[in-house]
Subunit: 346 residues, 4 copies
């Protein structure tokens, strides 16, 4: 159940709703949007139905949830949303390239990769300080030291930072360094993490679970939205199928399907889906042509020494081609290639 | 095992190879290419190894098969192949649109759909006279009457005809009307049908099985090639996964992967993969951008009355957009939009 | 649409129905059961609705098809069916073991394998003379020579023969040797083959397509049934999933689900699903415990030299354990272990 | 890399290893087993190779990891392990039934369900206080209040408690009430949670991810083991496939495969895989027949009012049949049906 507050509802009005819901054994999560505030109720819906919520001051509407996801649905938000990451737009009207190393290894490698990212047309820097790895014996990332490297490289290049968080307990720390929190494919249904990210006050990049239906992906986004954060960007990164010629099967159709069901921006990760450098450029073109709002790709100055996913990283000689593809497809679709807030020092 | 004949090998030389293989209990299939003849051996390879095949006149090379598919592999044919269907090219340098109704229902509907196809930039007409249907109670196609309709419409519009054959026993009949034989997803491993198509003297459009790996798809093509027919076009049409938001999951990565492994042209069917009209144009753009040699789409003058797959057919108002997309992406990639041999009478 | 004839309907009554349907442009397929005859109509159902079929003499009922499969559905046949293969029962009350070599290689190997089958508790002999292989260069079976071997071994051991047919054109020939026709996983939607098998007058073992839903499997059975043959046994043999630790994923739940939806017997192939000898016995036990009407397993006197699927064949030392498991689980479930019609000469 | 300490190694010896690893920038996790201590190293393996670990006092062996999972592999632990949950054995020689409500709703419902569990032959009580739900608007469980209910019901019935934990931050709290921690399918790769569970000092029930390969499942177990906890029970609960007739596809083959690769006990959840009450008993029989060390099933006094997964819960009239099946299959396989430590007060 969702309560839509009137534009002129006061804080006291909102508090009154929250308190009433609490008396019925529920929890009320307040989402403050630009024009109005939405309160999502969690708990047994049968208890809420006995409350006379419409009669409270400042309440504009009480919606029974028909679609399983409500706040992220396009049903009540026909216009697609634009999410801004430290000034960099992702969404309608823009084509946004995010690039960087799979993992932060050293300050030098990260800075080099960031300059490669800028050369590839990227306006945002990706890079992992916390790496969820199938094996406990694999490199797990540098942790906070990696976050500091990313922060330094942002100062040097002007590229805002997108980085993954893997545990609810780390959200506050990661959010203190990052401009956008990434939630990875294995954590798409880590609900505690989604809720913590929803309360962190930073935009969230939500990767699709490799086994998740599009509906479950939108429900995961709803977990974030319901805690008050609608600055969510969806990222299709390939699903698990019987085909083993690629690391995962990029579900290119998921882009128009998700854009039709939700108002949130949708981007594509061609690096993790294809798993091979030679597929990254063709899949990036496909993603942009199908209407994705951007792509996120791995780049690495020396993939052969990468501690993580080297075989799928683009190298120096690929960068101009990616930038050209992004510009060409942006122009074809009447979009603008998003730029970094401060010109990158390349 | 594959025997490559010298360019100047005589028919008698070829016969001598075939006879020797027969004495060892094997079968030899002769594939006459433009520049040279290849003989594929079937049977127990251990028996063939005892034969001194290299010593026979006209034999240029004897290749042990390392890749599981040999004749269709790009390993020994670095240059990608161009297949020509009654003058219409499919392959490198061209972007080819194939369009038409899912099923031939009436002469009028088929003619109208063919004119729609031409408006959409198509140079080949698709249409089913034999329809493999999950239910024995569903419309199964008009059979030979449908082939006659297609033939008449070709005369009227100039568009060569691509049509499906579902039984080895029908191959000769269908080939007498059609310009290109289509083998559907459910028959990708109907080996008797593949072999019959390999002997029919017409180009073959081989759809990927909805559960087939890319390697199995190429092995199916090898069955056709091995019977002497290398005029094969591969068609990615979606695979079966857990995701039910689309009819099938279009495996867009299969296009560059198959083009890398095989010299055969690869096209995409966005209609049967997406299963929804609204997805056909975005997926067509993705297919062309990823480097597909063409697309094959359903069009229907009145989808609401279609006997088969109406919801995925493009309608009148979509045609110009498909043609524009084909032209734009052809130009972007330095390709030419293929044209019908005789200008279609639209 | 299905027409149920009265128990005392004459041949002339049946002919009259068939003729009337033909005038409406449809085809009528007559299924003569033990107690009554059923006529399935194929063609445009809208045309049939204008006919006054109920008014014809001998017509007991005219059923609109609500379930997609009708003749094989349990809806109108609450009692599960018993299929008899040259005197050997498969279905309720019995546990039936089918065993033999994957492929017929030589008379000696086949006879030895048949004796192994009898030792394992089998009452039916399986063995392939026509092998559908992914590669055109793999051993394709001995063809008619293999059928003769199977027939000779049946004479010697008393075990009726189950063998695969892969092309509609071969059905008559195979049916002249075999006691039961097997349709393999790759041909589950080879509709011409299903229809030919439906007219061959022999029971049919229908393997589930490795990518087929249970509903599609039952629809494939309906294709056979609709041509007049209800002696169909369904065989679950594993589906294709992302998991690669086994050759296929045995869908053990499909047994009770299919038995609930259809009156046809359901058996399990643990050899092709597991793909490893060590899994055959545990999976056979699971199949019998879940309620399968039988199992079909590969045995081979010398798996290391097998021309096909050696790694999954049971060997001499496994046989007693399989027979014991079959007897134990039959007893647990109040079933009788089916026996060969003439005691096998072992 | 794994360091095996000698049986007589002292605490100081172990500390010395840990300290040396720390100087190389790594982390060392100590696993104290019954007979010897194992130290798993995390970090860049190339740094560890420069250390002379074998020369340290008390070090018996230094193993390079060849199998991706080491501590849970059967390679170095040929004998299968027995895990004990407050006196209830799970593993070789025993058949263990775990039963209870999907979610704790009220003290009365939980007590009733526990008594049903005991009637069904269960020696452990399952029940969720924290429920990971696809939708943020669905009932999320009672939290700590639910844990208290479970604890009270344990006091009343003698059944030790298995309950799910969904966030690393809750592990300590849940472990203070529960006898065994359950990690659910969506959290199988929530590595922070796995590590926290590994340090909690309670046995862990690790459900297979619905999209996880068997290898990934064992790697997830390795994350727990590596933090010092080898009391892990694996639970197969169905994987996600294209088939929609069941909630998930129970991968019955995973039981013998996992038992062959790992020394850990393996049980089956037939309730969440089948998703239907009518499938629970057949699938339980299949699980026990294939060799599973136990089953975990949902029971509910009034499934029609259940707040979670009612349709799959067994009811009163099913209990005797489950207990009989467990006893029969235990006897067949020479196992003993595990009993609750204190006779349940039913």
């Amino acid at each position: 159940m969702v309560i839509v507050m009137a534009p002129d509802a006061s804080s006291a009005d909102i508090d009154a709703v929250v308190d009433l819901v609490a008396t019925a054994g529920g929890e009320a999560y307040v989402t403050r949007g630009v024009s109005r505030t939405i309160i999502g109720l969690v708990g047994d819906v049968r208890h809420f139905e006995t409350l006379d919520l419409r009669a409270l001051p400042g309440v504009s509407d009480v919606l029974r949830i028909s679609a399983p996801y409500k706040l992220v649905s396009r049903e009540n938000n026909a216009e697609r949303s634009l999410v801004t990451v430290r000034g960099v737009p992702i969404g309608p009207g823009y084509t946004t390239v995010i690039a960087g190393p799979c993992a932060v290894e050293t300050p030098e490698q990260t800075l080099q990769a960031a300059r490669m990212a800028a050369d590839a047309g990227a306006s945002l820097l990706r890079g992992g300080a916390y790496k969820p790895r199938t094996s406990p014996y694999a490199f797990q990332g540098l942790g906070e030291a990696g976050l500091k490297v990313l922060s330094d490289v942002r100062d040097e290049t002007g590229l805002p930072v997108v980085t993954e968080v893997v545990d609810a307990a780390d959200v506050e720390l990661v959010a203190s360094y990052a401009d956008m929190l990434q939630i990875g494919t294995r954590n798409m249904q880590n609900f505690a993490l989604l809720q913590a990210a929803g309360e962190a006050g930073k935009p969230v990049l939500l990767k699709r679970g490799m086994n998740a239906t599009i509906e479950e992906w939108l429900m995961a986004a709803e977990y974030i939205a319901q805690r008050g954060n609608l600055d969510i960007v969806l990222c299709e990164r390939g699903i698990r199928t019987f085909e083993k010629a690629t690391r995962n099967t990029l579900d290119i159709s998921a882009v128009p399907v998700a854009q039709d069901l939700s108002h949130l921006p949708v981007i594509v990760d061609p690096s993790h889906s294809g798993g091979k450098r030679s597929l990254v450029l063709p899949l990036s073109r496909a993603a942009l042509a199908v209407g994705a709002d951007g792509v996120i790709v791995d780049v690495h100055p020396r993939p052969e020494t990468a501690l993580c996913d080297g075989p799928q990283a683009l190298v120096e000689s690929d960068l101009a081609e990616l930038r050209d593809a992004a510009q060409t497809h942006a122009a074809l679709l009447g979009r603008t290639l998003a730029e970094a807030p401060v010109p990158a020092a390349v």
